[in-house]
């Protein structure tokens, strides 16, 4: 369920400012930091950010 929510949130939120990044561009550790960075910059709520992080880590 979190994976599915994360996939949708990734598509909805990340594309608002820039092209959607390929999950394979970064490792799990890097995504952990980048998602926090984007959470602050794009005002993404914490639960949605966790969903996106889970999706990226499961897809890279």
């Amino acid at each position: 369920m979190r994976f599915a929510r994360g996939a949708k949130a990734w598509a909805d939120n990340c594309g608002r400012c820039h092209n959607i990044r390929n999950p394979k561009e970064f490792s799990d550790k890097n995504w952990s930091l980048i998602v926090k960075h984007m959470r602050v910059r794009a005002n993404i709520d914490g639960e949605t950010a966790k969903d996106i992080e889970a999706f990226l880590k499961a897809s890279n």
């Binding site: 909805d12 594309g15 608002r16 400012c17 820039h18 092209n19 959607i20 990044r21 390929n22 561009e25 490792s27 799990d28 550790k29 890097n30 952990s32 930091l33 980048i34 926090k36 960075h37 959470r39 602050v40 910059r41 794009a42 005002n43 993404i44 709520d45 914490g46 639960e47 949605t48």
Partner: protein, 429 residues
């Protein structure tokens, strides 16, 4: 089972003897012998089964002993092995972008030129799940061969809960959308900023030093965002207020500002911004300076759906009459009348993946923008007035690797029109 078979065999024997003694046997000796043989076979089979069961028990015990030994070994190894990077409390990551430009202009006295490349590293560090540091530097080569270094932001983000992050330090201004979200070169659809949304003499605040609260929250089925801050605020410059973060304040009045936005549709964001500050005049060689109110309001929208990216932004700001120098070497302050700035742009971009499956054509993205800065009031602040058409074509090698070309028609009220060809390559990492 074994006892049962022994008892059975005994009863059969007794029955056999009893029958013989009674002399009333109707069954022949050979039949009885067969029965006895069958019973003996059953007893032997039971004994064999019991032996097999004992052997299996022994094997199971050996396997259990091996598993226990392996678990003990694993626990010892885990105890002396350091955690992997992904498990560590403190994590690091280097982010950022690099950009290179070529600009050709028909402005008198200008030369076609490869413009200095920029290196824009972003350093990220987190502690557990509740603290993030973001530091963004900008390294630029100057025309005299030297290197310019600036600090775009250096902020500590305390992730208080799902809906609140408290920021302290130097941060990008949350006013509007271009500065805080779109200005990185691998995100900006065109190689230049909109007219007026510039780093020097622009109308959109760049950054500030202070504290900020920001986050996102649900509003029914919609989503809302907010960012409010208090900071040192702007200072006076030769082109009007300098909307950058200064390391200390030159008066006791802080700047307040922020932005709220609402996603009225999943792909349509509407934002409102505001800011208030008191600006102290720039000191001259002699003479008293005054202080004036500075107010800013703004609105923005972004529609991003499928292959479309359509945006617009408007900022209106006002500075009251003020006595201020325009340069620290001025002998006396200048009496500057109240001045207003009106600054806006609207742009649209479309990725051709929407009309072609060809892998080359699909990576092209034409973009067009109109932007304008208009100033009413003090003539000395009108130098950046401009209206500009920009039309460009991007090619995306990867989601964050882009080559752009653009034509810009720049109309200045107080100078000759300039036609510019601008090419750029950018990589965000």
């Amino acid at each position: 089972m074994r006892i049962g078979h022994v008892v059975g065999l005994s009863l059969a024997s007794l029955w056999l003897l009893g029958s013989s003694a009674a002399g009333a046997a109707t069954t022949s000796i050979s039949d009885l012998q067969k029965r006895v043989d069958a019973l003996e076979q059953q007893v032997k089979q039971a004994a064999k089964t019991e032996q097999e069961l004992e052997a299996l028990k022994a094997e199971l015990k050996a396997a259990e002993d091996k598993a226990a030994a392996a678990q003990a070994t694993a626990e010892k190894v885990a105890a002396i092995t350091p955690p992997s990077d992904d498990d560590s409390l403190i994590k690091f990551h280097l982010d950022g972008a690099v950009v290179a430009d070529f600009v050709a202009s028909d402005m008198k006295g200008s030369h076609n030129s490869f413009v200095a490349g920029k290196f824009l590293p972003i350093f990220l560090a987190s502690y557990s799940d509740w603290l993030l540091f973001e530091g963004h530097m900008e390294f630029t080569s100057n025309s005299d061969g030297s290197t310019n270094t600036s600090l775009e932001y250096a902020q500590l983000d305390f992730l208080v809960n799902d809906w609140l992050t408290v920021v302290a330090g130097k941060f990008l201004s949350p006013i509007g959308q271009f500065q805080q979200a779109l200005h990185p070169p691998w995100i900006n659809k065109l190689p230049d900023r909109p007219a007026g949304f510039v780093e020097d003499g622009g109308d959109e605040p760049l950054n500030d030093v202070g504290i900020m609260a920001r986050g996102g929250f649900p509003v029914g089925s919609m989503k809302g965002t907010y960012a409010v801050y208090v900071g040192n605020g702007p200072r006076m410059g030769d082109m009007g207020p300098v909307l950058e973060g200064f390391a200390n304040d030159n008066n006791d009045d802080k700047a307040f500002g922020g932005r709220v936005s609402l996603f009225v549709l999943p792909h349509l964001e509407i934002g409102l911004s505001g800011m208030h500050a008191k600006i102290k005049g720039m000191e001259a060689m002699a003479g008293a300076v005054s202080q004036a109110d500075y107010e800013l309001i703004g609105g923005d929208f972004a529609y991003t759906r499928g292959n479309w990216d359509v945006r617009g932004e408007y900022i209106h700001s006002h500075l009251g009459a003020i006595n201020s120098a325009l340069d620290p070497s001025d002998p006396a302050p200048t009496a500057i009348p109240a001045t207003t700035w009106n600054n806006w742009y609207v742009q649209a971009a479309y990725r051709l993946a929407g009309v072609s499956d060809n892998p080359v054509i699909a990576n092209f993205e034409p973009a067009i923008r109109y932007s304008q800065l208009h100033v009413d009031g003090f003539n000395g602040f009108k130098g950046n007035e401009e209206s500009r058409w920009s039309a460009g074509l991007d090619y995306w090698f990867a989601p964050s690797v882009v080559a752009k070309i653009a034509y810009e028609n720049r109309h200045f009220p107080h100078a000759a029109t300039d036609n510019v060809f601008h090419a750029q390559v950018a990589f965000g990492f």
